[in-house]
């Protein structure tokens, strides 16, 4: 007997849809049934617009019938709830946007629709994508399908959990300091942050505009590459968009490991890395060495300041971006004393604790007397860090490290320790600082929980990073699926 539809890869589904072995409607129904069966425990989705999903599936089938549509036509994709979807609530998991229904589609959503890819519900996140556990959602907890007492990671926790629970083969997240790669690692998935500017940010509700990037989650590198191709390309609606072609997938499977040179920064192999994570990561490296990969320790000293630079730059940008939420044109509006009181009460009540904390720190570091000591200095350290990576790329194909210092932690475990939560991103932050393409793939299990391995490369080398990740994936033992449902 063949695998149930929900357990199949996007590439297999796409092939079978094109060959008329299965219809887009059947594929959508199988995944909706899977959501009904598993989401009461997992909590990945904030909104599941069944009628729209079935209408999209019917439209996809009509495209397939006419021989049209893109390579993933008819395949369902979960969408992080900070990506604008016309006519479907987009809340950023915030009370402030609880009733907001965008009148337009983000560019990535327009691209999906044009190719017949089915937008399959809106996934939970840390409010405004600020967090590493999904516990900062104003609406619900999302649980890790590998162990329902643990976090899926964040901020794109819902987009990771839905793919791990086989509710969808693919999803979109956003990554400002690791928000795709960290949950991908904690849920045993592939998660890719493309080069800054290769995927349009138009319609992504902004957090840290110089760092934010939309990217895919999947269970295989091939699936992630196919969705990267579908969403990338120049967009005149995003003034930071790079004038390059969409990410290509034709050479995905032609990479070789022999003679590959990878650099491993000492600063990402500190005592912060849990012993189990380190052991799993190192046995993955041993397998790669046997395949002919050269792995060399390097020193990139500025990495140790990554968390500091990130928690200055990202909140500074956030405090400016989130100033638009004033309750005038959309969103919550509450009464206060005078017009400033209205705005302050709306924001004080509408934003959750972590969002307010980041607006506060951002406002502080940008305020008179502190700007140079914090914000300017952080940007100088950012420049140093990027220089160190760029000089490493002259001698190596890519930089390799663990993605997360720990496996999925228990829900509530770090709730009273916001600083410890913030330190979890130290391996992922440098790629955002440099705009580098960076991917997390499963490296194996530690105590029955997934461990992620991260590859980061130069600006614009998205195809090469995906190709290396594919080659690594073939050399490493296959990751099982979590035993649920």
């Amino acid at each position: 007997m063949s695998q149930p539809l929900f357990a199949q890869s996007a590439a297999d589904l796409a092939r079978r849809l094109r060959a008329r072995e299965v219809s887009a409607t059947e594929v959508a129904e199988a995944h909706l049934d899977r959501v009904s069966a598993t989401d009461p425990q997992v909590g990945a989705f904030l909104t599941m617009p069944r009628d729209e999903v079935m209408a999209d599936a019917a439209a996809a089938q009509a495209m397939l019938d006419r021989g049209e549509g893109g390579p993933l036509c008819g395949v369902p994709v979960g969408i992080k709830d900070n990506i604008s979807t016309r006519g479907v609530a987009t809340t950023c998991a915030s009370k402030l946007l609880e009733n907001y229904v965008p009148p337009f589609d983000a560019t990535v959503i327009e691209k999906l629709r044009a190719q017949g890819i089915v937008c399959f519900g809106k996934t939970n996140l840390d409010e405004f994508a600020m967090g590493t556990s999904c516990e900062n959602s104003a609406f619900q907890l999302t649980r890790n399908p590998w162990d329902l007492d643990r976090t899926p990671g964040g901020s794109s926790g819902g987009s990771a959990a839905c793919v791990a629970a086989q509710q969808v083969p693919l999803s979109l997240g956003s990554d400002t300091g690791g928000s795709i790669r960290l949950p991908a690692a904690l849920c045993g998935l592939v998660g890719f942050k493309p080069t800054y500017g290769r995927v349009s940010r138009y319609g992504l509700i902004a957090f840290g505009s110089s760092l934010d990037q939309i990217g895919p989650f999947g269970r295989t590198v091939e699936d992630v590459a196919l969705l990267s191709e579908a969403i990338s390309g120049y967009d005149h609606l995003d003034s930071t968009s790079l004038d390059r072609h969409p990410i290509q997938t034709n050479a995905l499977k032609s990479g070789s490991l022999r003679g590959l040179k990878l650099a491993i920064p000492d600063q990402l192999m500190t005592d912060e890395i849990q012993p189990g994570v380190r052991a799993t990561f190192e046995s993955a490296l041993d397998l790669l060495r046997k395949e002919g990969v050269e792995i060399t320790p390097v020193s990139l000293p500025s990495i140790q300041y990554g968390v500091t630079t990130y928690y200055i730059i990202a909140p500074a940008e956030a405090s400016s971006n989130l100033a638009r939420f004033d309750g005038i044109r959309y969103g919550l509006r509450l009464e206060g004393e005078g017009h400033i009181g209205n705005v302050a009460t709306t924001r004080g009540e509408g934003f959750g604790h972590e969002v307010k904390a980041r607006i506060m720190i951002g406002t502080y570091v940008l305020s008179a007397g502190y700007y140079d000591a914090y914000y300017t200095r952080a940007q100088q350290v950012r420049a140093l860090m990027v220089q160190e990576f760029e000089s490493t790329y002259r001698d190596f194909d890519a930089v390799i490290s663990p993605t997360s210092p720990s496996v999925a932690f228990r829900l509530g475990e770090l709730k009273d320790n916001p600083m410890a939560m913030k330190l979890l991103d130290f391996c992922t932050i440098p790629a955002n600082m440099g705009g580098f393409p960076s991917i997390s793939i499963p490296a194996g299990l530690s105590d029955h929980l997934p461990v992620g391995l991260q590859l980061t490369g130069p600006i614009g080398d998205d195809e090469r990073i995906l190709q290396l990740a594919y080659a690594l994936e073939q050399a490493l033992p296959p990751t099982p699926s979590p035993a649920m449902g």
Binding site: N99, Y100, V101, P103, F104, T195, Y196, G197, S210, L211, S239, T240, Y305, V307, T308, T309, Y311, I312, S319, G327, I328, R329, Y330, G331, L332, G336, H339, I340, N342, V343, A344, T345, R347, G348, E349, F351, H353, K356, A357, I359, M360, I361, T363, Y364, S367, Y374, T376, R377, Q379, Q380, V381, R382, A383, L384, V386, M419, G434, G435, F436, I459
Partner: protein, 96 residues
């Protein structure tokens, strides 16, 4: 370097955030923890290094000055908390 309760209130005012006393104290301790962490870059020598505000610097990105389809008025107003006669109704800012 540490931040006082009064500074927390001042920053909250700049950020247009109405906070209660418990939140002010919580943010004081969280901000102090972060500012303490930030000290790691205070003594770093960054002299002469050009600040990097953006990962990929682009210059002069212009849009052609041509009309494009845009939202209909009703669509643009649909999410507004209060509207009247096709307009956003804003809170009163000038006394009677």
């Amino acid at each position: 370097m540490s931040i006082s309760v009064d500074e927390v209130r001042h920053v909250a005012k700049l950020a247009r955030l109405e906070l209660d006393e418990a939140e002010i104290l919580a943010f004081q301790s969280e901000l102090n923890a972060l500012l303490g962490h930030f000290q790691d870059i205070a003594s770093l020598n960054v002299e002469g290094i050009e600040p990097k505000p953006h990962a990929v610097a682009l210059r002069n990105v212009w849009a052609d000055d041509v009309a494009r389809p845009s939202l209909l008025r009703d669509e643009a107003l649909r999410n507004a908390p209060v509207t009247r006669a096709g307009l956003f109704i804003v809170p009163q800012i000038i006394e009677d």
